[in-house]
Every structure is written in C-alpha cells, then in structure tokens.
Symmetry: C2
Subunit: 401 residues, 2 copies
C-alpha cells in the first residue's frame, strides 16, 4: 500500500538532518541563527543540537559576541568526529577524495588507466587502492573513516549492456563492502550531484530544483520537496536519454535521437563536424574537445561559434522539456562541459528555455552554473548514513551496504 506513515520519530529525524544541513551551510553559527535559518522552533533546535553534541556530530566553539545582547555559544559540525570519503569509479578513471565531517576536502587522488579495467575484481582492487592512497595523503587510515561513498555510473536496475566492469560492479557491491571493511553507500553520480546541490548549493533556497550534468554523458538529478527523486527502478533523471529528435542521431544507449546524442561531448563534436566537415578540433579527444571548442570560439572561429550556438539551442530546448514536465524553481548546470563552455552557453540557453517552456513556467526560473560535485554529494550521503547507523536518522539511505 502506498501509505505514507510518518511518526514523531521521523519528524525528529527530519529535524536533525535539517539542522545538520544548516550547520554545513553556515560553517559556524548559533542556536538562534539555526532557528532563523531552518524555521524550526528554538525548543526543537535546542533538543536537536543536544542530540548532535551528544553523538559528537556537532561541537561548541566557545562564546561568540554578536555586538548586541550577551554573547552566545558558537556551534559547528565537529570536524574531529571522523572522516568520510568518496570514490568515483569509471571504466578507466578512478578518483578518491577524503573529507572531514564538515565536508572540508582533505585529500584528492586521481588515476587514469590506459585501458578499461576489465573485471569486477580489478575494479574492487582499484577502488580499495585509490582510497588508501587518498587516506595516505590525508595522513589518515581506514579506521578513521565513518564511511565511504562510491559513485558508480548506471544503476542497480540497469542491465549490463556495456563491457565496462564499473557497470558490472552493481552486481558485486557486497564484495566491494567486504574488501573495504567499512560502511559503504553507492549512488549514481547524477543523484549525488543533486544531493550536493541540495545540501550545499541552491537547495538552501529551493525545495524543487533540477541539476543537469553535462559531460560525455548527460543527465539530470531531480530534487522535489527537498529529496532526490529516484523513481521506481532508480533511473529517474535519465533526461539524457529522453528524445530531442524522434528517430534522430544514434545514441550510445542504443536509442535514436536522445538529448545526450546532441549535447553530450560526442554530440557537440558531431554538431561541429556537421557545421564544418573536417574541422581540425573535431578530432580532439575526451574532455579536451570542449576546452578546444571554447578556445576556438573565443578566438572567433566561425564554425566553433556556430557549433556552440547550435548546442545552446539543443540544450535550451531539452531543458524546456524538463521545465514542462517537472516545472522546477531552479535549474543548475554542472559538469565538465560547463567549465569551458558554461558562460558561453548560458545566455542563449536561458532565452531558449523561456521561449520553449509552457506559458510563463520559466519566467521566474533561475538557470545558473553550479559548482556542485558528485564527490561532495556522496560524502554527504555517507555522513547521513553514519547518522542513521548511530540512530539519529530514520530515513532509508539507498543503496547502503
């Protein structure tokens, strides 16, 4: 039965998460400011802060003088409580980042393999090693970790069509947990970026927002009523594989005409090739291509400018579909492609979205570049999972191992 049964225990759990997010956003703050920031009553904030102090999630920072009235006790997240780590796993790219409990980044290690890592065993081994390397850089060890978050493209329910071992890992998550010997949470990068935006970005102002990730692949993290939408099989947000052109360009997913085939990096490369066949930078591989395209556009290269403008039209039209269907308060653009091209795409994208969205659904819609990273998002989920493990939070963290 689709029955929402919230108990008073869930309400306490929700209040604790709200206060932790407010602490994360504020850095150092006070009980009064937390009440102002969260809309919770002073009494609730006081109870919740008591719980967080008791479990070492928050710490007092001494008296703060505010200029008016008597000084009040400062509060912050307790950076000494422990560490959390994120690991990004792709077919030939691994990255590990270590954070303290206030989500301050302490160390970051990347490895790019020359060939795709071929087996689930090898992926597990690489994940463990790069995590240890990042811990070493942070002067820490595995026992200092409260938990690890792993960013895996794809999802639990996705059939393993590709030869990428990182996809196969979804079937061997228990082995990954055993190898790491730590509490592990796993999420798709799209959802993790949305979590980061929710905790640390526009989510501080909006309860309904969409974070679009633009890279080799593209997709959306949809936040509704302060929670990341997952969907029946965990694939909600696969906007990159919704249609831009019925029976249009072939997409790597097997479908034809997907948004990704137009605004993913290979799609932009194809748009340039269609604009000017044989253009030299169309051969620049990987993420370097969008950098080269941005530089060529800056230098006034006509084909590059035309390809960027065409991309903005494709992207704006595809984002207008998200506005039509989901109608968010805010739209954040994240991912590799936005670093070199974001500012250049933004004006035409905004114009196209306003023109194409139903009625004036986009009239007040903010469309902004985001610096949210999936790594921060998955670290936040690992922290949330730790709070659940100690009994402070009742929400289900999915998939947690």
């Amino acid at each position: 039965m689709p029955v929402a049964r919230r108990t008073s225990r869930d309400i306490r759990s929700e209040s604790r998460l709200i206060v932790v997010r407010a602490l994360l956003a504020a850095g150092e703050t006070t009980r009064n400011e937390l009440a102002d920031d969260t809309g919770l009553s002073a009494a609730t904030v006081s109870t919740v802060v008591g719980d967080l102090l008791k479990y070492g999630i928050a710490a007092e920072t001494g008296l703060l003088s505010s200029g008016i009235g008597r000084p009040t006790t400062g509060l912050r997240l307790n950076a000494d409580r422990g560490l959390v780590a994120g690991v990004y796993v792709e077919d030939r790219y691994f990255q590990a980042t270590v954070f303290d409990t206030s989500l301050k980044r302490l160390a970051n290690v990347r490895i790019r393999a020359t060939e795709p890592v071929g087996t689930a065993d090898a992926v597990i081994e690489w994940t463990a090693r790069i995590l240890d390397a990042a811990l070493g850089d942070a002067g820490a060890a595995r026992e200092d970790l409260l938990g690890v978050g792993v960013l895996l493209p794809g999802g639990m329910q996705r059939p393993v069509k590709s030869a990428f071992a990182s996809d196969a890992i979804w079937l061997h998550l228990d082995r990954l947990r055993d190898r790491l010997g730590l509490p592990v949470v796993v999420d798709n990068p799209l959802k993790a970026v949305a979590t980061a935006e929710l905790w640390l970005g526009a989510g501080r102002r909006f309860a309904d927002l969409v974070v679009v990730n633009l890279g080799e692949g593209v997709g959306a993290g949809i936040v509704q009523d302060g929670a990341v939408l997952r969907g029946a099989t965990g694939t909600a947000g696969e906007w990159g594989h919704s249609l831009l052109v019925f029976e249009g360009r072939e997409c790597q997913c097997g479908r034809r005409g997907c948004v990704e085939a137009y605004v993913g990096v290979p799609g932009i490369r194809r748009t340039l090739a269609e604009t000017e066949p044989g253009h030299p930078i169309a051969d620049v591989q990987g993420g370097k291509f969008v950098e080269a395209l941005g530089e060529a556009a800056d230098a006034g290269d006509a084909a590059a400018l035309a390809a960027v403008d065409r991309t903005a039209q494709f992207l704006g039209a595809a984002l207008a579909d998200l506005v039509a269907i989901v109608n968010p308060e805010h739209l954040a653009l994240a991912g590799w492609t936005t670093f070199p091209l974001g500012e250049r795409l933004l004006p035409a994208v905004r114009e196209r979205v306003r023109a194409d969205a139903p009625g004036d659904a986009a009239a007040e819609l903010g469309i902004e570049l985001s610096r949210s990273s999936g790594m921060e998002g998955i670290a936040a989920v690992a922290l949330e999972r730790f709070m659940r493990d100690v009994g402070l939070v009742t929400t289900r963290v999915l998939p947690a191992l």
Copy 2:
C-alpha cells in the same frame, strides 16, 4: 526556506485522508480491514474512524458477519452527509456532474455551444446554470452541496494567449465563487484525472504513477509519493508540450515539435493526411475523427492502420521519455482518444516504451488504459477541501476559494 515541518497534527490529517480514500475504495468495510488496507495501526484507525463518524463523513452500517469470529460493525462513507459537484469548463463545452459524498454519480448534464463563449461573465453564468441544471436532475439544490470543483484547462500562471474565455476565468475565480455562493476548488483537468487515478484507480496499488490524458490536447498528471506533482508554477505534467521532434510540426502552443502535435487529435489527423493525402476521414472534425479512424482501421483501411501504427510509435517514444525522466511504477492512459483507439494502440505502445526506456526501467512497468475522469478527481478534491474546512485535514488544497 525549503524546510518540511510536519507536525503530529499533519500526521493525524494524513491518516484521516488515507482512511477516507480506503473507505472510498472499499465501499463497505470494517475497522480491521481498514487497518489491513492502510497499514495504519488498529488504534489509529479507531481514532480516525471516531473523528470521521463525529463529523458525519463516515457512517456505521450495522453488524457484518464475517463467517469466523463475532460480527463486527460495518463502515462506509456517509452518502447522506451532502453532495459535491464538478463542472468542466471549456471554450464551447460545459459539463456538470453531481455526486454524493461516496462519489457515486447522481446526475450529469452537458452543453455544447455552437460558438466559443466569449467573456468571463458569460463563462461564469454558464457555469452557474449548468450546475443548477445538474442539481435539478439530482433532485437537489445548491444548499445541499458541500462544495464545487471546477475543471479549467490551463492554469493560474499561464498567460492568456488564446481568445478562450475559459482561460481568462483563471483571473476571475473570486467572481465565480461569489456567483456560486459555495466553497469552490479549481484544478487543471490533467491534475484532476491524476487525483482520480490516485484515489480510485491505480493509486490504490502504486504511490508513483503517471496518468496521461489523450484528447485534442495531451498532457500528464504525475503522482509521486501519493501526491499530484504541481511544480513551481503549477505547470508540472505539461509533457504534451515537451519535444518529440526538435523543430518539427507546429504546435498550437506556439512551439514546434511538441508531443501534442503528433499524438493530440489534430496531430493524428495530420499523420493520416501525411500517410494518404486527401483521405476522406481526415476531414471528420473533433473527437469523431478518432472514432472514424478506429472504425476505418477495424475495416482494414491501409492508411488508417498505418496512421494508427505511426501514432503508437510516436506515443510510445514520448511515453518512454516520461519513464526516463520520472520513472513511475505505473502508467495509465486516459482520455477521449483511448475510447476508440486505446486497445488498438496499446500493444505497439508497450513494445515501444520497453524498447526506448533506459535500461530495463520499463520491464516491470504496467501500461494500462484508465477510466479515471477528471470529474471524479475534482469531486474528490472538493471533498478533501470540505474536510479541511471542518478541521479534519491540514493539507493545503490549491487553488481553493
């Protein structure tokens, strides 16, 4: 601040709505069965039923013998508590339906004007008159009504581009309420159909579903976590004006390539005309066209069969986009077009959705025809609004006048 503050009062309110919906679904039931159906504790059900009896929303029906154990008291919604009505308002079509409190239909009146009703005043007058006509048929009067729900295409935030007075009415809702002299709720038909499906249809099995309405216009009502998604400006679900073909057919909304331009009735007519220019039934106007097309297909007309199949491909691809973005548990197809064409479209639509949706997101997805009507949905909202007015429910009913 996007802070969800649920109080224990909200939880009681939610439990009452859950029990009312279970009563609506069950017809006659018992406290024990309500606990089984809703997952609420026996104690909660007992308290909630007490509240509903006190306010006359529910009534006891005498002892039911279950075969085993001692007889228990039967419960149902109290059909004598009062009436609710729904009125559908379009530019040249008005319909009013009167229901009792258990949402049993008592009377229904339709009027089709030969010309669009030209002014907001005239729309208000027609609405009042058709409501009185339906009440007359039910042997009732306005003072018997607990409330009225009005179905208005478009939405609050939609700029009045069209000359239709029914659109302009959104700007004069207070005058409509004053003329009727009753509590009024107003909703877009897409959302009202979704509400009906949620209360009376697949919502009894699924918390996350999409109801697609197929008629002259097309759109979706998206239900998530047991609530109809509205979006920042009330336009969530405007899937009909998301893209099927970038820069494709002109849509009545002004955009090019919208889903509606392919699977709305005029879009299907155009598909037939493209299949066989000058085909005689392409000139059949309004909803009769889809009936004529269904009959021609049944008779083996090759162009009609081809147009129906092409429509199924368009529709399946467009529905796969909803699966990619929202990933529901269930997809219900409602609306005029489904009456003559639903069974004929369904097999190819199901196949296309499974092929086009990401991974196996649609492998377990039920795609079924729905008989939910917006009229039942808006009557349910009017009932919910009455429960709010007497203090049984705290949820905001939007827009309520």
